[in-house]
Amino acid sequence: MNSRAEILSRIKENQPELTSLPAELTAPLQYADPVAMFSTVLGNIGGTTVPVSSYEEIQDHIKTHFADQKRIVSTLPELSQVTEAGWEGQDPHSYEDIDIAVIRAHFGVAENAALWVTEELMQQRVIPFICQQLAVVVQRKDIYSNMHEAYGQVADSVYGFGTFIAGPSKTADIEQSLVLGAHGPKNMTVFIMDLN
Amino acid sequence: MHVGLFIPCYIDQFYPNAAIATLKLLQKLGVKVSYPIHQTCCGQPMANSGFEHLTTGCNDLFIKNFAEFDYIVSPSGSCVLHVKEHLHSQEEEEKAVNVRKKVYELTEFLTDVLKVDKLSARFPHKVGVHQSCHGQRGLKMSQMTELVAAPFSKPMQLLQMVQDLELVELSRPDECCGFGGTFCVAEEAISVKMGKDRVADHVNHGAQYITAADMSCLMHMEGILRRQNSQVKVLHIAEILNAEEV
C-alpha cells in the first residue's frame, strides 16, 4: 500500500463520528463608520490613509510626496502620467528596484485594515511584496466592517493567487521591537477614493 | 441542612486554624456541621502525578465518609475540584455521582447555596487575593482574565462584606503561584520562581496579608515569604471571613 492509501485508511479507521458544521456567527461587530475605523486601524499598524476624490488627486499626491523616487509603476492606466510605461510582463526578479508600486484593491476591511488583492490587479504576483513602498487604491464604498462580509465578497470567485494585505511588511522578532519593512514594503499608503 | 466538613490532609495537620475558622463560620451562619473523623485525603496528589488508578482506596473511603450528608464543604478549591472531576467508585458509582454533585468549596457554598449577603467580620488590613487556579478556572469561582466575559469573584464578593478590609489590586490578578502539587518539588526552580513573582506582586502593591480559598497555594507562598523574612502573612479566607478584630 502506498502512503496515500495508508494514510487515508488510517484516517477512516480513526476519525470520530461525523459532527455537523456550526451555524454561521450571528451579528458580528459592525462599525457605524467603517472608513473611519479602517483609517484608525491602518494607522495603528503603520500605514497611512489618504482620502481622494479623483485620479488627478492621486497623481498630485505622488508628484508632491514621492518626487525623489526613481521607479514608480502602476497597474492603473489612470495614473500613467506619473508612472513608468511598458514595465509589465518582465521576469519578476527585474522588479527588485521598484521604489513605489500603485495597485488597486477589490475592497478593504475595517476591523483589520486588510485589503483584498488578486493576481490580475498586481500584474505580477511579486509586485506588492518586492516594491520598497506600496500604495493601494480602494473605493470608499468598498470598505466592509468585518471578515465575514469580506469573504461574502470573495465568495466563489476564481483567482490564481489572492492576498489580504494589512499595512507595511513588519517584524518584531528582535525583542518584540516593532520594525516596519521586514522583507516587503517599508510603508503603505491607501488612497480611499470617493468618486462623488 | 447537614453539612459534612471535608478538611484536606495538609490543612488538618498544618493549618488547623483554617479548618476551625471554616467550621465556626458555618456554625455562625446557622449550619449544622459534622466532621467525619475517619477522613484522610481526596487522592489528588496521586492523581495529578499520573496515578489516578491508585486512588480507589481514597475514593471509597471518601464516599463512605461523606455520602450521607446534604452537602460536603471544604476550605480547598483544589481538593473539591479533584473530587468533582475524578471521584469514581467501581461498586457504588451512583453514590460517587451524588458526592460529586454536592461537594462545594467554602466560598461558593456561602455565595451560591447559603446566599450570604452580610457577614459580621472585621479585618482592618490591606489584603491581596490570590485566585487559586483550580478554584478559579476549575470551579469558576471568579471570572478569568483570558476570557471576554463579565467579571465576578465569589471570594472577593465575600471579602467586600468584611468591615475595614482593604483589597489591593494586582498587576496580574490571576497568575498561578506555582505550587501545582508534586510540581512544587519535581520542577523546583520554576515553582519557586513562580511563587516569588506572585508574592512580589502582592508585596509591591502594599498587601499586609495574602489570602486565598486554597491553603496549598498559601503554604507555598508562606514558605517563600518566611524565607525572605517578610512581615507579610498568609491567611486562609475562612479566617478573614470569621475575623472579629476590634
Partner: protein, 458 residues
Amino acid sequence: MNTGTKDHAGLADIFNEDEARVDWHDETLWFVRAKRDKAAHTLPEWEALRENASKIKDNVLSNLHDYLLQFEAKAQQNGITVHWAADAEEHNQIVHSILKAQGVSRIVKSKSMLTEECHLNEHLQKSGIEVIDTDLGERIVQLAEEPPSHIVLPCIHKKKEEIGELFHEHLGTPKGESDPQFLTAAARVHLREKFLTRKAAITGVNFAIAETGEFVVCTNEGNADMGAHLADVHIACMGIEKIIPKRKHLSVFLRLLARSATGQPITTYSSHFNKPRAGQEMHLILVDNGRTRQLGRADFRNSLKCIRCGACMNTCPVYRRSGGHSYHTAIAGPIGSILAPNLDMKEYADLPFASTLCGSCTNVCPVKINIHEQLYKWRQVIVKEGYADTKKALAMKAMDFTLSSPFLYKTAGKAGRWVIKNAPFMVNNKLNAWYKQRDMPEPPKQSFSEWYKKNNNE
C-alpha cells in the same frame, strides 16, 4: 521524570540560573499575552468566535478523509502537484527528490513548524542542499545553530545584543550594534539577495481549503511571498490536519489567528495560493507523521485542532520562566506537551508534568483545545505505560496505602506528622526540594482532628 539527560526540570534549572534573564523573558511574553487580551476585547463576539472555530475543527476531524480527497482533487485541477508522506522521513525524501529533479542545491524557506518537526533542514544539509530560513527570527536562530524556542517568535529567548553579535560575525554589521531597526535593515539586505538568487522556495501552510484546493500562508514579514513568487518551484508542506472545509471559514480563523498570536488584528499578509503562476511548479506535501495515530486517541485527538498561534505559550507561567528550549521538542509550551508524547512517549514523558495544570492555556486557545485536561490525561497514560520514574511510583503506592486507611494515617500523623514526610510537597526523588528555597510550614500544637475531638463531642 527520568528521561535521560534532557528533561524539562533539568533544563529549566539551567535557564533559572540567571534570574534577571528569566524576569526579562517572562515580561516580554507577558507583554504579548497582554496585547492578545487587548485585541480579543475589541470583539464582543470573541467567545462565540472561539466556539465557532472549535466546532468547525471538530467537523474537520470527523470528516478528514473526505475533505482530504476533495482538497486533493481540487488542488490537482488547479495545477498543484500533491504528495502524501506517511512520516517525517518520507516528507524529507519527497522534498529532496523535487529539488534533485530540478537540479537545485540552494533554497529559501519561510516559517513552517512542520519542517521543524521533520528536521528537514538537517536532512537537506546532509544531502548537500543549503537551506536559508527567511523569517527574521528563524534566520537568527539558524545563524546561532539553535532550534526556534517559540512557534511564532522563534528567537524570543535572545537579547538584541546577542543578535547584534551574531550579525557582526555572519553579516558583517558593526561590532556592538544592537538596534533592532538597524539589525532588521541589515537582515533585509542579506535576505533579499537570497530571494533573488534561489530557484526553489519552501513555505508552510496555515489553512488548506477542501472546497477550492487553495492553501493560505500567513506572514508579517512577507517572506513566504517573496520566496514563492520569485522561485521557479514552490513546495508547500502541511500536516493533514490543516484542512478546513470552505473558503468562508477563513473569516473565522483569520479573525482569531493573529489576535491570539501577537494581538494584531490580522497578519500583514494572508496569501491564498490557488494555482502556480505561469511557468512555475507548485508542489504540496500532505504529511501524517503520527497525526492519524493521534486522531485515534479519543482523549487527545482534539490537539489536532491547533492553528499554531502560540497563545498558550505566551500565557503559560511555566513556559515564560523556563524558555522554549527546556521542552526539547520542535513545538514547545503547553500545546507541544500534549503533541509530543504522541510522537515519542518515552522521550517526552516529562513534558505533561511540566505544568501546574493552572488552565490558562485552555482559556486563551482560539480553537478551545482542553490543553490542561489533556496534560492530566497524558500523565495517567504515561504512568500506566511505565514511563514514570520508579521511585515516584513506589512512593505513590505507599501513599495510597496510608491515605486509604484512617488508622495508619492518624498513627503516622501522630508519630512525627505523617504529612511532613509524605505530603505531596515532600514525596519525591529530589532531596528536600521544598526546603531549598522555601521554609516548611510550622507544625501546630495539635491537628484539626485532635482539636475537633476535644471540642466537638457530638
